[in-house]
């Protein structure tokens, strides 16, 4: 197994007013190249904290994270992030938002025409050619999220990190974007880590589902390998016994083994 991303004995402690808060402990995970990983768990279990660690936005208190055997010491464009709330700059058009990223990564080596071509290609990939000149406030939430994905993909990152990218969308738009994401990941062979709390989303998209225990001091509870053949079709899978089993396994973990979330929160 090729080790692309290695997370070794990672723990994260935050200093709060009430003293130290242990968010994550003893996280060990290895991600293969081209793999699609879903991080799932109840809210407050540190899924996003783990994603931020891989992104390099925060640094671990203990342990180490490696990408291609090099330590992740800070954020960088080789790890594209799709933020939960799209985080498009409102004063730039969709095209300009993507162009900002493209220019940063390829600006030193390539001419303007080529950069624009790349930007247009990334916007095409998420099917937004018609909205390219629009400002973020002029388009729908689903479209904004797609621009966010286009921005992340345009940098040709080694790892695509997504923090509940479809959480704020309605079910129909979400399904559409999930299908699109599957197509894109298939086409680009992107290594992807996605934080989600949607069981169907996790089973449909992932190669492995990393299920996390409840916080504080959360860690990886179980890892479920999803061996469904690709390309996957949601309508066909809905009646697939294997799919139903995977789904049941995740649900069981979340609602039986980690059911005490309410008490913990209270």
């Amino acid at each position: 197994m090729e080790k692309f991303v290695q997370i070794e004995k990672v723990g994260q402690t935050f200093d709060t007013k009430k003293g130290k808060f242990v968010a994550l402990r003893d996280i060990d995970l290895t991600i293969r190249k081209g793999e699609f990983i879903a991080l799932i768990g109840h809210s407050g279990c540190g899924k996003s904290t783990l994603l931020n660690l891989i992104a390099g936005l925060t640094l671990p208190t203990t342990g180490v994270l490696l990408l291609e055997d090099r330590e992740i010491a800070g954020p960088g464009p080789e790890r594209g992030v799709v933020f939960q709330n799209h985080s498009l700059l409102p004063w730039l058009t969709c095209f300009e938002n993507v162009y900002l990223a493209v220019e940063r990564v390829f600006g030193a080596k390539e001419g303007k025409a080529k950069l624009k071509e790349r930007t247009a290609a990334a916007i095409s990939l998420v099917g937004l050619d018609h909205a390219s000149a629009k400002y973020p406030h002029e388009i729908s939430g689903g479209m904004k999220q797609r621009v966010g994905i286009a921005r992340a993909l345009s940098m040709e990152p080694k790892v695509l990190l997504m923090d509940e990218p479809f959480g704020a969308l309605d079910a129909l738009t979400r399904a559409k974007l999930q299908d699109e994401l599957m197509r894109i990941c298939e086409a680009t062979k992107a290594t992807t880590v996605m934080v989600t709390h949607d069981v169907d989303e996790a089973v449909l998209l992932s190669d492995r589902i990393v299920m996390m225990t409840n916080g504080p001091a959360a860690t990886i509870g179980e890892i479920l390998e999803v061996k469904l053949p690709r390309p996957r079709e949601r309508l066909i899978l809905a009646h697939d016994p294997a799919y139903i089993d995977y789904r049941a396994a995740v649900l069981e973990f979340l609602y039986e083994k980690q059911a005490h979330v309410e008490k913990m929160a209270a």
Partner: protein, 332 residues
């Protein structure tokens, strides 16, 4: 008297502020207002909007009922009346009180005298009889020029400084106590220093404007920089943008609204201070003019000057609000 004036002013200001927004909504609402005349007309109205090809035919159908009922037009007139009537009434009450208070004569001239003096004054606002006797137009322009220069320098220094302080916690901690110490000082206290340094009245007055304008500019810009949403900064970090790109593509557009607030506050203070500064330094300028007319005991001119200063201040403020609206609309 002054309290009444203040109250009256506030009364007028608010409705005037709202008036444009009312007018903005009226054209949009117009489409909706057509149906208000009766349900039968609502359908043609909607179709006009949907199918421009049939417009001419439909116009014939829709216009007569519009005129017949007249209710939307009446409503519009009512809306306009609501926007204009209260401020006009406030103004009339103010002038009425002024009139009654000065009816018995005395040192303060009444509205009629003042109006006559103003008519004479504004008949030739741009005359020049030597350096100490110039038209009111020149005086206002001279003051505006000082404010412009002092304010411009303040923006040139204050905005970049605000950016730096907003970006660096260390520098901010270093400079903030100094700013807190100096900010409450009346800008006029700086005037003697200005006179000493520049040896001339005119740059000293400009320098006073610089001093009073720079604080709001620094503070608001720095605050704006500190309040840039973390999301945007995360984007910058993930893309590993250069500091220059961070400033031009993320910080500047995000801080712009705060900066404009700083500019608006600054220009308000600057316009307040220039009158006082000019009273002390002399020369040409509306503040000096007030003092000169006091020495000439032309009280009606002082009252005119008060109105002129008020109106110019209002125009400055409103045009900046307008500019801010335009710029933030474009950027958001």
């Amino acid at each position: 008297m002054s309290a009444v004036t203040m109250g009256g002013d506030f009364g007028t200001e608010k409705p005037v502020d709202r008036a444009p927004s009312h007018r903005d909504t009226v054209p949009v609402g117009n489409i909706n207002e057509v149906p208000l005349g009766g349900n039968t007309h609502s359908k043609p109205g909607a179709e006009v909007a949907a199918e421009p090809a049939k417009e001419k035919k439909m116009e014939k159908a829709t216009t007569p009922p519009l005129q017949a009922t007249g209710s939307p037009f009446g409503e519009k007139l009512g809306g306009l009346g609501r926007a204009i009537l209260p401020p006009a009434l406030g103004m009339m009450v103010l002038i009425g009180i002024w009139y009654i208070a000065t009816m018995k004569g005395g040192s303060i001239p009444g509205p009629v005298q003042t109006w006559d003096a103003a008519a004479a004054l504004f008949a030739d606002p741009f005359y020049r009889n030597g350096p100490n006797d110039q038209g009111i137009g020149w005086n206002v322009l001279a003051s505006l020029q000082r404010v412009g220069i002092g304010f411009g320098f303040a923006a040139l220094v204050g905005i970049p400084l605000g950016f730096i302080l907003g970006r660096s916690a260390f520098l901010s901690a270093m400079v903030n106590p100094i700013i807190s110490l100096l900010r409450p000082v009346s800008p006029l206290a700086w005037l003697p220093i200005g006179l000493l340094v520049f040896k001339k009245a005119d740059p000293a007055a400009t320098y006073t404007i610089f001093i009073c304008s720079i604080w709001p500019m620094i503070m608001n810009t720095a605050q704006g920089v500190q309040r840039v949403p973390q999301d945007y900064l995360n984007v910058a970090r993930v893309l590993a943008l250069s500091e220059w790109k961070v400033v031009t593509k993320i910080l500047f557009p995000a801080v712009l609204p705060y900066m404009l607030t700083g500019i608006r506050l600054s220009i308000g203070t600057a316009w307040l201070v220039i009158v006082a500064a000019e009273m002390l330094t002399g020369g040409v300028g509306i503040g000096f003019w007030v003092w000169d007319e006091w020495n000439n005991l032309k009280v009606e001119h002082i009252i005119i000057a008060i109105f002129v200063i008020g109106i110019v201040g209002l125009i400055l403020e409103q045009s900046l609000i307008l500019l801010a609206k335009k710029l933030t609309k474009e950027s958001s």
